[in-house]
């Protein structure tokens, strides 16, 4: 009979091992880097302790109960009355545990998502299948990358003009849905610097799996530098190649869908590209932002992220080279 518990015991060991091993690489909720994630991880470890105790004790009861009567004809009697057993095990003990869980719920949810003074406001709009990000007080837009200063209260307004999405950065906190016709706000703080993976957590259609983003939590000073740079319009291209690329951008269909501040490109269907050269990834965190991937994305993004709303752009190799040089110069 001991063998019957072995897979589960093994699984519990695996749980701890895997969480311990993988958190370094994974966007793990037990590797918290934000205020909300910290609180919730605390709740989790409390529940993990209780759950383990409950599983081992009740699981033990099941095994013992199953084998206890072996070798007898009619089973072994017990002095405990059935109703007493059921009341204590099924109602009284669980009720005590549930009160603890209830208290943890109230305690944690009362401390989270509260308005604070002087927050940094950010607006995020869920698109199919990427994220439009804007800083209303600093008055600039970007996409798929949210920069925040560590320690300062953050207020992210969440909206959608299409289907429902959900904003989730596991290392910073829980999810908040982006619901058409409803404005949600998520309030939190980052406690550590780092680049954290964010994901769309509500099924939103074809490319739901490739609707991800990054949150870059940085020191207040480096955030200010970053924000200040973004408030400036783009200067003229520095090289001839980039200048040619700008011409290609304005001539090709690009400008119809994308905005580059300081130019005549004001499209709003696709992501704002004003800082595309400084972003870490392309296609909503689908591929790294390298020269090769950028060229590939422009020529036919459908091979990288099938079904996304950007059509293939046929360009001569010279035009493509110039365009890539231009886009990569946009920092």
């Amino acid at each position: 009979m001991r063998g019957r518990r072995a897979p589960l015991a093994l699984a519990v060991v695996l749980l701890t091992t895997f969480v311990a091993c993988s958190t370094k690489r994974s966007p793990s909720i037990v590797d918290p880097k934000g205020s909300e994630a910290h609180t919730i991880a605390g709740v989790w470890w409390l529940m993990f302790g209780l759950a383990t105790a409950v599983y081992v004790i009740v699981g033990g009861f099941i095994i013992v109960a199953a084998v206890r009567g072996r070798g007898t004809k009619e089973g072994r009697p017990s002095r405990v009355r059935d109703n007493t057993f059921v009341w204590v095990g099924g109602i009284i003990v669980p009720a005590v545990i549930l009160v603890v869980l209830g208290a943890a719920t109230v305690h944690a949810s009362n401390s989270l998502r509260k308005p604070e003074t002087n927050p940094l406001r950010i607006e995020v709009v869920g698109k199919r299948w990427w994220w439009a990000v804007s800083y209303p007080d600093q008055k600039f837009d970007t996409a798929n990358e949210v920069h925040i200063p560590v320690g300062r209260p953050i207020e992210i307004g969440l909206d959608s003009d299409n289907v429902i999405h959900s904003f989730w950065v596991p290392q910073l906190g829980g999810k908040v849905d982006l619901i058409p016709g409803q404005h949600n706000v998520w309030r939190f703080k980052a406690t550590k610097e780092g680049t954290f993976r964010g994901e769309c957590a509500e099924y939103c259609g074809l490319e739901h799996a490739k609707m991800n983003f990054l949150v870059v939590a940085q020191s207040a000073a480096s955030f200010d530098t970053w924000a200040l740079r973004h408030q400036q319009p783009q200067s003229e291209p520095a090289s001839q190649l980039a200048a040619n690329g700008q011409v290609v951008f304005m001539r090709a269909p690009c400008a119809g869908c994308h905005t580059i501040r300081g130019t005549t490109a004001h499209g709003t269907i696709g992501p704002d590209l004003t800082d595309i050269g400084s972003r870490l990834t392309l296609g909503a965190n689908t591929v790294p932002n390298t020269e090769g991937y950028l060229s590939g994305w422009i020529v036919n993004s459908q091979t990288i992220k099938p079904g996304n709303l950007m059509p293939p752009i046929p360009l001569s190799s010279n035009d493509l080279q110039a365009l890539v040089a231009y886009l990569r110069s946009l920092k």
Partner: protein, 642 residues
């Protein structure tokens, strides 16, 4: 009571079995197939049809697991993956779990109550035909390559015309409305049968726990299913006729849809789970050779859960940004609903504790169920903790949780129930040895497949993704899960083969292969069309253990008892008894086989096809057939038919 307990089991022999056979038998061949209203044939069909859907939908799960076995995999693209995911969820909930339990209820419940059929046999047949036709309707989408891809929950606005313009989603929305008819009609039948058709002496506190569980399920169905019918109905009105109930871009409410969907969706979990616990509550006492501990508390828990399950639905919506205070109420109720399950759990343990457990295949599935459901219940309580839910909702942690509950804690009891009751249904036993092998494959495969998903959720893997990049620490666990999924599938396949084998070559079961306590074990295996020539008289919660030989009733000639004895069977009747005390009260004429249920169901199917393809003429033809069949139905009373 106006019945005597003098004529005993032996009097069955005096009844002319051949004559009864002639009175009750269906026509042979195809006419009998379409006109039967025998609850046992219908119950078997429910089970077979539901298992067909189980295996098809399980194969789809294997394709999904293959796709997720490795990062950046290309087994299927996102479009196909999303379709498979939608069909898998919808099929398992609507076309496997719900109907297979209705099938067992259909077959077992009248036998356990000691009656000759369900209260409304024609309605019962109708309910089955609706189920199978709606299943065909839904799967037609897959066969013509237009499978829905909006997820099994069909959230708007993704499923609105604007974002899902094809006919794909109409298959889904209409199928949900369509199959809901079947579930609702079945629920009415279960309730009336339980209250009005119990054997004399089977007072309300002597009813087998399985019957209590079906009753609890039926009440939940009655109040919950209209909500999902409304949700899918409003969606289809928006899609087909351009209304704006749930279309936010025209001023409709997205959350209205979610509220309606989950107002059904959470009770639905209990609609599936409660009958499964009822099966366990029959299997464990028989295998431990002693009565179920704390019967009254278990029955109370089953009813309590039916009420409480209607107060928890918002825990599926904790991330929608509703006010925290409002959601706290649902958080608290979601914790409280643990208690009725706790009562049942410790009743099972107490039953085993003082008994001697026989490790038969049904019992192995029972113990497997206990070990799996324990974990699924614990993670369920965790999900009630709102802040924790914000982190893990819509992650693989939830996928793990609900597979522990809906697969482990529902499918395992169902497999146990096959081994337990199939001998009654067919007269032949399944192989114990292959049953053990099947169980261990399923148990190990199940835990390999789903335990790691808890961890994947912790490592930030969201639900419903068709692929994932490498380097996030998700690769190994996904591979293990896929391997486990295939082992689980092989385990279910072993039972399938075992089942087929038993059908023709199984060892004879006899009337009572497990030494059971409830009335179904008192009749032959398989039972005759009329179940009982003479209705048993019950004086105990465990008639077959406490009343040997089991007394049966005979008529005393008055109106109340005239259907109890063999004469009742000869007149195609079954007794009606009072709701609480089960005193003989009157006689119910049972209808004879009829095509009406099939015709009515076909009319409804044609009507739905008309809606689907937006062909008014087809819709009108369907509606006309429906009206004609209904009128005919109402015209021909059961007495006319008898």
């Amino acid at each position: 009571m106006a019945v005597t307990d003098v004529p005993s089991q032996e009097t069955h022999g005096e009844v002319d079995a051949e004559e009864l056979e002639e009175i009750w038998a269906d026509a042979p061949g195809v006419p009998g197939f379409f006109s039967t209203i025998d609850h046992k044939r219908i119950g078997m069909r429910y089970i077979y049809t539901a298992f067909f859907f189980f295996f098809v939908s399980g194969l789809m799960a294997l394709v999904m697991r293959s796709q997720l076995a490795a990062p950046n995999n290309h087994v299927v693209g996102p479009e196909t993956y999303n379709q498979l995911m939608t069909i898998h969820g919808t099929t398992m909930i609507f076309l496997f779990n719900t109907p297979v339990l209705a099938g067992f209820g259909n077959y077992i419940l009248p036998l356990q109550l000691g009656t000759r059929d369900m209260a409304f046999p024609r309605l019962n047949a109708f309910s089955y035909w609706i189920f199978v036709l709606s299943g065909i309707f839904f799967f037609a989408s897959f066969l013509i390559g237009k499978a829905p891809d909006g997820g099994w929950f069909g959230y708007v606005p993704l499923t609105d015309k604007a974002f899902s313009p094809g006919i794909n989603l109409d298959f889904w929305g209409l199928a949900i409305v369509f199959v809901g008819i079947s579930t609702t009609v079945g629920a009415v039948n279960f309730i009336v049968t339980t209250f009005k058709m119990r054997a004399p002496g089977m007072t309300i506190n002597r009813v087998p726990i399985f019957v209590w569980s079906i009753l609890s399920m039926a009440f939940m169905v009655l109040f919950a299913v209209p909500a999902v019918t409304l949700a899918a109905g409003l969606l289809e009105l928006d899609r087909l006729f351009g209304t704006a109930f749930v279309n936010p871009h025209l001023g409709g409410s997205v959350l209205l849809y979610q509220h309606l969907f989950w107002f059904w969706g959470h009770p639905e979990v209990y609609i599936l789970f409660v009958p499964a616990t009822g099966m366990i509550s029959m299997i464990i006492p028989v295998m431990a050779r002693r009565p179920l501990a704390a019967y009254l508390w278990v029955a109370t828990a089953l009813i309590a859960v039916a009420f409480i399950s209607f107060g928890v639905w918002v825990h599926h919506m904790f991330a929608t940004g509703m006010p925290v205070q409002a959601m706290s109420f649902f958080s608290a109720v979601s914790l409280i609903i643990v208690l009725p399950s706790g009562v049942q759990f410790f009743a099972w343990i107490a039953t085993m504790w003082k008994g001697r457990v026989r490790f038969t295949t049904p019992m192995l599935f029972g113990i497997g169920f206990l070990l799996i459901f324990l974990l699924g219940g614990i993670t369920g309580a965790m999900l009630a903790v709102m802040p924790f839910d914000w982190q893990v909702t819509d992650s693989y942690f939830v996928v793990a949780h609900f597979h522990y509950v809906l697969n482990g804690a529902v499918v395992f009891p169902i497999f146990g129930a096959i081994y337990f009751w199939y001998p009654k249904m067919s007269g032949r036993r399944l192989s114990e040895r292959w049953g053990h092998i099947s169980f261990w494959l399923m148990f190990v495969g199940f835990n390999l497949a789903f335990f790691g998903m808890h961890i994947l959720g912790f490592l930030g893997m969201p639900r419903r993704i068709a692929t994932y990049p490498s380097g996030l620490g998700w690769d190994d666990l996904n591979m293990i899960s896929t391997i486990g999924g295939f082992i689980f599938a092989v385990g279910t396949g072993v039972t399938l083969i075992n089942w087929f084998h038993a059908r023709w070559w199984g060892k004879p079961a006899g009337n009572d292969p497990w030494d059971g306590d409830s009335l179904e074990w008192s009749t032959t295996s398989p039972p005759p069309e009329y179940n009982f020539a003479s209705i048993p008289v019950v004086a105990s919660r465990h008639p077959l253990w406490d009343q040997r030989p089991l007394p049966t009733a005979s008529s005393t000639g008055d109106e109340a008892t005239k259907s109890l004895g063999p004469e009742g069977a000869e007149h195609h009747e079954t007794p009606e008894t009072t709701g609480l005390d089960a005193r003989p009260q009157g006689t119910l004429d049972l209808p004879h086989p009829t095509y009406l249920p099939f015709l009515l169901a076909c009319g409804i199917a044609v009507f739905f096809v008309g809606l689907l393809i937006k062909a008014i003429l087809v819709g009108v033809i369907g509606a006309a057939a429906l009206v004609i069949a209904l009128t005919w139905w109402a015209w021909r009373t059961e007495v006319d038919l008898a």
